[in-house]
Amino acid sequence: MPDLSFAPLLRGDYLAWLLAGLRLSLLLSGLTLLTALPLAIGIALMRISPLRALRIAGEAYVEAVRCVPLLVHMLFWYFGVPELLPEGIKATVYAGEIEIVSAWAALTLYTAAYMSEDIRSGVRAVPAAQLGAAMALGFSYLAAMRLVVLPQALRITLPPLLSQTLNLWKNTSIATVIGTAELMYQAQRVESATFRGFETFALVTVAYLSVSLLLTGLAHWAQVRLSPSGARR
């Protein structure tokens, strides 16, 4: 066992690399959350829609996405999809932050599939009679959903959604394979420069763990404080 020393890692460049990685990991999680959540609500609504075609499309999406590993999604969105763009646009996209955009796209679609299932469960936890009652009062189906069912459903769903956010946070690490300079990527870079693999990954573990524990705590708090009394039992 070689001697452990954290001091070389906490100086100058290496620390800056790790912090830049942490920043990008957080940014990627935040951006994905912003896009995945609306998409997930849309898919959940499709899956419980009165129209059969929408239900099938929603289910097909969820199954297709969940049955493929995230690593494959990443490679697909980096090496595959952008190649279909027209030449002119492609050159501009590739000159920019394609590594971040591809990771964002893959994470959004992947996370939305899981979140939509949680939201669907939340909707099912709201008594079905409420939808009927709202429509009997003259609300359209969509208005009844938006104003009566979804607000309650999302409150019930908050703890599982936070747990999906935790998964999302950990999943950002997979983006290292497509050259996205997030925390894992920077950690590997520091490791190859210093050969202090144990120390580097110990620091990275602490970083992942602290954000994860924060999310777990938040989920616990949401469970206790925000769920309607029916869901608290």
Partner: protein, 280 residues
């Protein structure tokens, strides 16, 4: 109570002794290798012609695999090849999962602090491949541009040193980075000269669309990696390698994998397996 305490002391002493014995068993790797009758050598398996998978037999072959075979034969043990990722090489060696590294490993001063190296087994430079229509003629023109390369090697630090303002994106393997270049996700691909020439040659007819820049970004002596402080093992390895040089076998191996008959077409060997000293 008294008896329990004594028993505890005995147990602890026994534990201590067995730990010592365990350490004793690991004190010399050469003895370990001979005892288990097997030499585990870590290779890349993705870096033709140093180590790569033969399309027909599905086995890992190459220049470094042949070197490893010679070493195993010299020690009189069986050879076991283990495929490693570039970034995993040094940790795998340090943790004892492999006995030696024959994995396109650059010998430099910085790495001497963590592992030992054999005599230099190959000398290569690192170069840059660009698209022919990119208009890039020299290294300076890469400033501010995006270049792609492999994680965990010396390629990234070297290109950053050569072109301070460059933007680098790294991938797990050479072929992946090369694909990113082909798709235009970077303007240049940085790699060891040999791997670069090999990947370039593999393009066949599409070869003309790419060009290798003349300037070297570094000179890279490759060597076998040995765990730090294993002096007897290093002596054996160096002895076997020096033997290859003296018998002329080293030259044959070079011609077999790099010579004019191969895709790489190196006319002759410009180095000798004789020294374990490096300049940088």
């Amino acid at each position: 109570m008294q008896r329990n305490r004594r028993r505890l002391t005995h147990t602890l002493a026994a534990l201590g002794l067995s730990l010592l014995a365990l350490q004793g068993a690991h004190a010399d790797q050469l003895d370990d290798i001979k005892k288990k009758g097997e030499l585990v050598v870590g290779v890349l398996g993705t870096d033709e012609p140093n180590s790569f998978i033969d399309a027909k037999t599905r086995e890992i072959i190459g220049y470094e695999v042949d070197l490893a075979r010679t070493l195993a034969a010299k020690l009189g043990v069986k050879l076991q090849i283990k495929q490693l990722a570039v970034a995993a090489r040094i940790p795998e060696l340090q943790q004892g999962h492999v006995d030696l590294l024959a994995a396109s490993l650059t010998h430099n001063k910085e790495r001497e602090a963590v592992i030992d190296f054999s005599l230099t087994t190959f000398v290569t430079g690192q170069k840059v491949l660009v698209k022919a229509d990119s208009g890039i003629q020299n290294l300076a023109q890469l400033s501010g541009k995006k270049v792609v390369t492999i994680k965990g090697g010396t390629q990234e630090p070297n290109i950053r040193k050569a072109v301070p303002n460059v933007d680098v994106v790294t991938f797990e393997t050479g072929p992946q980075a090369f694909q990113a270049l082909q798709q235009g996700k970077g303007v240049a691909f940085v790699n060891d000269e040999v791997s670069l020439l090999d990947q370039h040659a593999k393009l066949g007819a599409g070869k003309d669309k790419y060009r290798v820049l003349e300037q070297n970004i570094s000179v890279e002596p490759l060597a076998i990696g040995i765990r730090k402080g294993e002096k007897r093992l290093k002596a054996e390895v160096d002895g076997a390698l020096a033997g290859l040089e003296q018998s002329g076998e080293a030259d044959k191996l070079f011609l077999k994998w790099y010579g004019p008959e191969t895709r790489l077409k190196f006319p002759k060997r410009t180095f000798k397996i004789e020294s374990d000293k490096v300049d940088n």
